[in-house]
């Protein structure tokens, strides 16, 4: 059965593809100009229209000059508010957009840098991914403002953000003007670090160390602030109980402890569970300052360490036989 929602979605898709064909792919920085700003009345605007219509009918019915004048005044006000709403978006733009990686089932962040080339402030400019509820901000005259949009990332892989919406209902809220920005933005979603298997030793050198487990043998380095992806096992809970901030115990691995995390060495679980276990190890190993590499079917990353390396490894897990997702 075809419901109103179906028709709505159908038209949204039709519109979206029309706008996409019409505008083409965008290159940052973008300044919004007339030809890409769309405008329609809001619900409140339709209510206002109804009110003006009723006033018109009443004014005509009673041949009441003053009521008619006020009706026309309000009608003109509505029309001008349309121009103003359109103009509020004119000259604003997007300077930069970047989506940092995140872990699955944790919201990612899309950082947008909005800017305005207009000589007057722009109020309540909203930015949103697709048709989500926009996050609003004010832009000073010829100024900038960064905002962070949260991006849902339920499963690991890549989230493609096809298009962004810049929108406003300012002033008076009678009209909503918006503009679409098509940017090929990708957000990598790492597998969720999970699993309880102890970290394997460098089994290429010494398979026996796998059983012994990792953390104990390492050299104590110190404490550092908690970061996303840190293992709860490494948190200094005693310090936390003393009302210190969340701190993580860091250990340094001795040069000899080269670890290679192998997909095939894991029990025959499902792919996702194995990737989650690998992610757990990578996060822990990096936190402990160890040198680690991964080997998954089709990819091998030689042992190394540092944030770049961690990102490479986790990305490899994220992209392993992943399905493309569109936000």
């Amino acid at each position: 059965m075809v419901s109103a929602a179906h028709i709505r979605v159908y038209w949204q898709l039709r519109m979206a593809s029309w706008v996409r064909r019409r505008q083409g792919l965008d290159v940052l920085p973008i300044t919004l100009h007339r030809r890409r700003i769309y405008i329609l009345p809001t619900r409140a605007g339709l209510g206002f229209l109804l009110l003006v219509f009723l006033m018109l009918v009443a004014g005509l019915n009673y041949a009441n000059s003053l009521a008619l004048f006020l009706t026309f005044l309000l009608g003109g006000f509505g029309l001008i508010s349309m121009h103003q709403c359109h103009r509020n978006l004119l000259g604003t733009g997007l300077r930069a957009a970047s989506a940092g990686p995140t872990f699955a089932s944790r919201a990612g962040t899309l950082r947008l840098e909005l800017e305005s080339s207009a000589s007057t402030p722009r109020y309540r400019i909203g930015a949103a991914i697709e048709t989500e509820t926009p996050l609003l901000t004010d832009l000073p005259a010829k100024g900038r403002q960064s905002i962070d949009l949260s991006v849902a990332a339920p499963v690991r892989g890549v989230v493609h953000i096809e298009r962004l919406k810049l929108t406003t209902t300012h002033p008076f809220g009678l009209f909503r003007s918006w503009s679409w920005v098509h940017l090929p933005l990708r957000m990598i979603v790492y597998p969720r670090p999970s699993g309880t298997l102890p970290m394997p030793a460098d089994d290429a050198q010494d398979a026996g160390r796998l059983a012994r487990g990792g953390a104990g043998a390492d050299e104590w380095l110190g404490l550092r602030p908690f970061r996303d992806g840190d293992s709860p096992r490494q948190v200094d809970w005693k310090a936390y109980a003393r009302e210190a901030p969340l701190l993580v115990k860091e250990y340094s691995a001795s040069a000899s402890e080269l670890r290679l995390f192998r997909f095939d060495a894991l029990p025959r679980w499902g792919i996702e569970r194995r990737l989650e276990q690998l992610a757990r190890w990578i996060v822990d190993a990096e936190a402990q300052g160890q040198t680690y590499g991964i080997e998954i079917p089709g990819t091998r990353i030689e042992p190394d360490r540092g944030p770049e390396h961690r990102h490479r490894c986790l990305s490899a897990l994220a992209l392993h036989e992943h399905r493309e997702r569109t936000q």
């Binding site: 300044t31 206002f48 006033m55 009443a58 000059s65 996050l135 002033p171 008076f172």
Partner: protein
């Protein structure tokens, strides 16, 4: 626990409350006093709860709110016995608006409250369109628009929004709303001038709330004094051509035939055929602007020539009776004659009606018969009675002593002090007792000339009563016994003759010449407003088109004028906005970069969409090692300018240098065979 008050912020709520309160105030004098008071209490309750959410009076739940709303509807019903009608509807709107305000917790609710405020404005405008109140109406429009701006700007509850909530304060909102309304004014004026006015009403609201003022269709001799104490305007008259002399300015109202010894009534006994009239002398053409009175009486000078255009009847007594009570200012054009004659016989019906003997009053009966017997004719008898009034020691006063049961006898032979009603009443009684047909005519006499506007103001204080007698060969003849007793009354208003007639303020106004002049100016402005704005109609629209030089204009010309003006206004607005928002220019750096990419594209090196400048440089190096020196330098320069330190505000000189370098870059297509090499 989260209270309701936190769901929305105070500022937009306060503004919607202000708009609502202003709308209520505009209507406050038309609804029972408890209505605005109740509205105020509910509004304050809501504001207090939002202002002090921590120690708030708890906002009522759904049950309490429903009970309150029900009680208020019952209250309105108890007062008006209906919910239909302008006053009852307004009262209901105020109360429902207040209930809505009480439960307001979202942007949508606040907008609805502002909508209610605009409807309250409409209700007030439908009731009165005075010049004095117009600024208030405009202010209300301004307040409502400001409220809409503030509501629209309010932060979304429960979301952290960077940079919201500081820049756009109340002042900005007020300024923005004012600016927007000013820009809309040309359109409003244009539409006002050219939007075709429809004739006739689609529906009407009963109005039972207006106080009746002015003359009624009964008169006791003393009742006129109630009117004369009022300085209110009954109507204004603008003559086309010369005005009649002051002594001829009798404005005819109800004609009273029936006297029960105390009260004169306009008993309807007709219809009788009107005696044929000969209209002599100059006709006077004039426009009347009748103020609302809630009565059906229209007024015309002396004897009106024919029925004016409009919903009005012309009776056989030459009275004008509106089809509906006059609830709004009414305008009509009339032609009157001050000199008419009828040579026909008075038919039996009217004669019988207007010679009914007066009950009781034996002394005046004897006196009348005696006087009539001595006079040779009806005309001589009239003169004799007037002579009696002139010489009998009668006094014109505002405070006559009360009269007994035989009121005519008491007055003529006892107190001898009376007002116009006493004289007219006694005179007609004497006529009837001598079998001379006569009746009392009430209306207004005189009027104040307004030199500023060039029109006559007739006030309630000009109310008057006189008599008409039937004289063979002349027809109905006006006789004003008051003028015999106090001849000055013909030329001067009652206020000059009897200063005690009106209220202290009116006396004060008249005592000061500059205040009088000022008030005349104000009244001229009011008259202009009523005549040209309030009463602006289809005929006036056609008149304007004619003045614009269009021959025989009709409604389609109005449409063209409207469309043309609308287009001009749209262009003007678009220009206004285009001017204030400069055309967004593309970034010079981006422009130069895309020119560079275009140049490379021409020689067959295409930048992949996902490649940045540095990745592109690598491509160039791979494909055209010969170009790599110059192009790579440019690409890395671009990367530096765009993304390097200080890229937020790139140095203009560096950008210019980059542009120049791009322009000068020469890249030729790779030729496999280069003969020169």
């Amino acid at each position: 626990m989260k209270t309701r008050g936190e769901a929305t912020t105070l500022r937009p709520l306060a503004w919607s409350a202000v708009a609502f309160a202003a709308g209520t105030l505009l209507n406050a004098d038309r609804v029972p006093a408890w209505v605005p008071v109740a509205a105020l209490i509910l509004a304050s309750w809501r504001i207090w709860a939002a202002w002090r959410p921590a120690r708030s009076l708890r906002l009522p739940g759904t049950l309490v709110r429903s009970v309150l709303a029900g009680l208020m509807v019952l209250g309105v019903l108890a007062r008006f016995h209906t919910l239909n009608g302008l006053s009852a509807g307004t009262a209901l709107l105020i109360l429902m608006g207040a209930s809505k305000l009480l439960e307001t917790s979202s942007q949508r609710d606040e907008r609805i409250v502002v909508g209610v405020s605009l409807f309250l404005l409409l209700a007030a405008v439908l009731d009165r369109q005075d010049l004095l109140r117009t600024p208030l109406y405009l202010a209300q429009v301004w307040i409502c628009c400001t409220a809409m701006a503030v509501i629209g700007y309010a932060p979304t509850p429960g979301r952290r929004e960077p940079g919201i909530g500081r820049g756009f304060d109340d002042r900005s909102a007020l300024k923005l709303a004012a600016r927007t309304l000013l820009l809309a004014t040309p359109l409003a004026l244009l539409m006002f001038l050219f939007f075709p006015r429809l004739a006739g009403a689609f529906w009407s609201l009963p109005r039972n709330d207006l106080a009746t003022t002015g003359l009624s269709d009964t008169m006791t001799p003393g009742s006129i004094t109630r009117l004369t104490s009022s300085y209110d305007i009954a109507f204004r008259v603008r003559f086309q051509g010369p005005a009649p002399p002051p002594a001829m300015r009798y404005w005819r109202g109800p004609v009273l035939h029936d006297f029960d010894g105390e009260t004169w009534r306009r008993t309807f006994t007709g219809p009788y055929r009107k005696a044929p009239l000969e209209y002599l002398g100059t006709p006077y053409r004039y426009l009347v602007l009748l103020e609302p009175s809630s009565q059906r009486w229209w007024f015309a000078l002396d004897t009106i020539g024919r029925r004016p255009d409009g919903p009005v009847f012309l009776t056989e007594d030459d009275e004008l009776i509106g089809v509906r009570p006059v609830n709004d200012t009414t305008t009509y054009t009339a032609v009157s004659y001050t000199d008419v004659r009828s040579t026909a016989e008075l038919t039996a019906g009217p004669r019988r009606r207007d010679t009914q003997p007066v009950r009781g009053n034996p002394r005046s009966q004897a006196f009348a018969r005696d006087l009539r017997a001595r006079a040779g004719s009806d005309g001589a008898y009239v003169d004799a009675v007037l002579n009696f009034l002139r010489t009998g020691g009668f006094e014109y006063t505002l405070t006559p002593p009360p009269l007994g049961r035989d009121s005519v006898d008491d007055f003529l032979f006892g107190t001898r002090r009376g007002f116009c009603g006493h004289f007219a009443s006694a005179f007609v009684a004497l006529m009837r007792e001598a079998k001379v047909p006569a009746h009392v005519v009430t209306g207004y006499l005189g009027g104040e000339w307004n030199p500023v506007g060039g029109y006559l103001i007739v006030r309630q204080s000009d109310a008057h009563a006189w008599a008409e007698v039937w004289l063979q060969g002349r027809g109905w003849t006006r006789v004003d016994p008051t003028a015999v007793v106090e001849p000055e009354r013909l030329n001067r208003g009652i206020l000059d003759l009897l200063p005690g007639a009106v209220s202290a303020e009116a006396r004060l106004v008249r005592a000061s010449s500059w205040l009088t002049a000022l008030l005349q100016r104000w009244d001229a402005a009011n008259a202009w407003w009523t005549e040209n704005v309030v009463k602006y109609d289809f005929n006036a629209q056609i008149g304007i088109l004619q003045r614009l030089g269009i021959d025989s204009p009709d409604a389609s010309d109005l449409g063209w004028g409207l469309a043309g003006g609308l287009v001009l206004w749209m262009v003007w607005i678009a220009w206004q906005h285009g001017r204030s928002a400069p055309r967004p220019r593309r970034d010079r750096l981006t422009l130069a970069y895309s020119r560079l990419c275009d140049k490379l594209l021409k020689i067959g090196i295409e930048r992949a969409p996902h490649h940045g400048p540095l990745a592109f440089a690598a491509t160039v190096r791979q494909r055209r090692p010969d170009l790599s020196g110059s192009v790579e330098a440019l690409l890395s320069e671009y990367a530096q300018l765009r993304f390097g330190p200080g890229s937020g505000n790139p140095d203009a000189a560096a950008v210019s240098a980059f542009e120049r370098a791009v322009r000068q870059l020469a890249c030729r297509r790779e030729s496999r065979v280069d003969p020169l090499r």
